[in-house]
Structure formats: C-alpha cells, structure tokens
Amino acid sequence: MEDKGLFKEFIKGIYKENPITALFLGLCPALAVTTSLINGLGMGLAATFVLLFSNIIVSSVKGIVPRKIRIPIYIVIIATFVTIVELIMAGFIPSLFRALGIYVPLIVVNCIILGRAEAFASKNSLGKSTIDALGMGVGFTIVLVFLGAVREILGDGKLLGHYLFGPEFEPVLLMILPPGAFILIGLILGTINWIEIRKNQKIFLKFKEKKLITTENPE
C-alpha cells in the first residue's frame, strides 16, 4: 500500500500536476533555454537536482524551522544547491554553462522549487517529498526536452546537433527566436486543454448512457 501511494506521488508530476502545463510554474527557463534539446535537457536535470536536494533538506528540517522565517531559510537552502550546480556545471560542462547563461543562477527563483518546498516538503515526510521532487523534476524535464526538440528541429533543422534534412530545407527561424517559444507553449497548453475537454465529454457521455445524468449540456 505504501508503495502504491509513493508511486502516485511520482506519477502526478508527469501529467496531472505537471509543473509547467498544469501549475504554470517555471515558465521563464522553460521558454528561454529550450533553443535545442541538449539545452533543455541540461536545464531540466539541473533544476531537478536542486529540487530534489532542496525538498530533502526542507523536509528534514521542517520540525526545527520557525514558521515566521521559513521562506528566507528555504531560499538560502535552495540558493546553496543552485550555487553547487553552478560550480559543477562551470567546472565539468562549461559549454552547457555558457549556453544556459544567467538562467542557471535563476534556478533559485524558479517557482517550482520554492513552491514545492512551501506547499509539499514542509508538510510531508522525507520519503514522500523525495518522490514528489523526482516526479516534478521529471515532468519539468520532459516538457523542456519536448520544447527543445521541436524548436531545434523546426527552427534549425537539427536534432542534437545533427542535420536532419537536406540542404534545401528552410528552417522556420521564428521557432528559435522568442516568439516561437511563446506560440509553441500556447499551442501545447491549448492541446492539453483540448485533450482534457474531450476526456470530460467522454465521461459525461458515459454517464448519460447509464442514465445517471439527464441534462443536455456538459459542464
């Protein structure tokens, strides 16, 4: 039973409570760095690292932290891990560090991390907080990888640096530029809405078949 509960905490971060598409958190880095798949993946993993360890520490100290000053304390914890990530990246993957630019230190104000620390890790057990962080991080990374892949393929004609199409392919330059990111995320959110509306309509029709509802219009 405990296992099933933990798995649920993980899986919710992927779709139902995906930080970007359902909670609208973490949009700044999601749109800014996804000019290629590798950049999106790098940012996703870095943010997941910070989210995971911040959740662990915040959950471990939740009994000792006074409520009034909890937000500054969480911020210091998160900022410490962001600095660790910055230094690791600068030392071991300098090309990625240069590509991500100021968005690496900006992970500290990524609403997902402070949001999960405040809303979940400060009120739940260590095990649950760890799984929650992993789920949210993976969900975030999946969206970033998807955005990065689409923008790189359409906007550059490449994937992971390899050219996909022949020399006659004219890439849609707009996708790599800011407007492309905005329009793409708008369309993605619209698609998810469409899926959810269809799902609700199906459930409504099922109920109607079994004569559980008699009204005409679904809510």
Binding site: I75, T83, P178, F182, G186, L187, L189
Partner: protein
C-alpha cells in the same frame, strides 16, 4: 558620451532586449497578474521600484564585498588581497532581494497605508520574480552588444534596473489590455485563458523583434 551610453542602455532594456519578450524574465506575474489592467499597472510600478532599489543594493554588495578587484575585504587580509567571492553572488543577491522586499513592505505599510493597499499584495510575489534577480545578474555580466564588457558602473546599473522595470510595465499594460479585450471575443474552447495569452505574447514578441534591427 557617458549620458549617451546611459540612454543606449535604457533603450536596450526597454525595447531591443525587452525583459519579458526577449529575455523571458518575469513570466510568472506576466501570466498571473495580467488579466486586469489595474492589477497589471500596480504590479508594474511595484516592480520598477523594487528593480531599481535591488540594482543599487546588489551592485554595492557585489562591488565592495564579492569582487576581489574592488572589495573592501582586502583591508582585512594579511596580504592585502581580497578573496574572490564572486561564486557567492546567487546566494548574496537573492538574500538581498528577499530582505529588501521585506523592508519595503514594512516601510510602505507604516508610512502610506493607501499605497500599501494598492501595491502591498504584489510585493512578496516580486521576490521570486525572475526579472529582479535577472537584472541584478545582468548588471554584473555586462552587455557586449552595447560595448560594455565587464560589470556595469553604479549609474549604469541603476539606469538598467529602472529601464528594465519600465519595459516590464509597458509589456504588462499591453498584454492586460489585450487580454481584457480577448475575454469578450469568441475563442476556441481549448485556447481560452492562458494558451491564447501566450500566443498573443508571441505575436507581440514578433513585433518587438523589429527593434532588434535598431543600431545605436
């Protein structure tokens, strides 16, 4: 010459490298607050205020404590050289911003209750606004497109902080005006609300791309 550079910084921060539409900073309040013009304007002014003050204080902290070439810590060390503490900028800046916002909120609450009622609820949100920490970091990164290689000077930082806030305010006013109008239009069900707001922002971003050809 100096004044011309300041004006260039201002134009860059407001139009050519707009914080919201070009640098993707400040998107959370962009979506959360832009449904009504009045709340957007309130948030915009609060952001200008915080960004300018944050630019000032973070520059002072970086210049006199973290950057080894100008740090005052060199007077406390035995060899006369200050330690390179630039890696602490993330922690230092976010603590400065969080404390600053706290003080501003308390100050406004005491001195001007009417202003507090107008701006007060947005202030805690501004702490996690990427744009505030973003401008503090940009002040020390320099801007090669304008010709500033290292960190900005004090006045340049203040100008960039203020102009970035102004750019943010302009965008908020534009998008909230558009969203208020969109509420009354017929939009496909799946796109209502946030998706159409993002697509609108994308179209605005295309318009602002036009500024990128501006050479000063």
């Amino acid at each position: 010459m100096e004044l011309k550079l300041l004006l260039i910084i201002a134009v860059y921060s407001i139009f050519i490298q707009n914080f919201v539409l070009t640098r993707f900073l400040g998107l959370c309040p962009f979506i959360g607050v832009s449904k009504k013009m009045s709340s957007a304007v309130g948030m915009g002014f609060a952001v200008i205020f915080v960004m300018t003050l944050a630019s000032i204080v973070t520059w002072l902290v970086y210049n006199y404590f973290l950057d080894p070439s100008t740090s005052i810590l060199k007077y406390f060390s035995s060899e006369g050289t200050a330690p390179d503490l630039t890696f602490l900028r993330t922690i230092a800046f976010i603590l400065v911003i969080a404390s600053l916002v706290q003080f501003i909120e308390m100050f406004i609450q005491k001195t001007s209750p009417s202003l507090y009622r107008a701006l007060g609820i947005y202030l805690p949100l501004i702490t996690t606004n990427c744009a505030v920490l973003g401008v503090a970091l940009l002040n020390i990164e320099g801007n090669p497109s304008i010709g500033i290689e290292g960190k900005f000077t004090f006045i340049q930082s203040v100008v960039q902080g203020f102009s970035a806030g102004v750019g943010f305010l302009i965008i908020l006013i534009l998008i909230s005006g558009l969203r208020e109008k969109l509420e009354l239009k017929e939009i496909p069900e799946s796109l209502k609300g946030v998706p159409i707001a993002f697509i609108t922002a994308g179209l605005m971003a295309i318009a602002f791309l036009g500024f990128s050809g501006l050479t000063l």
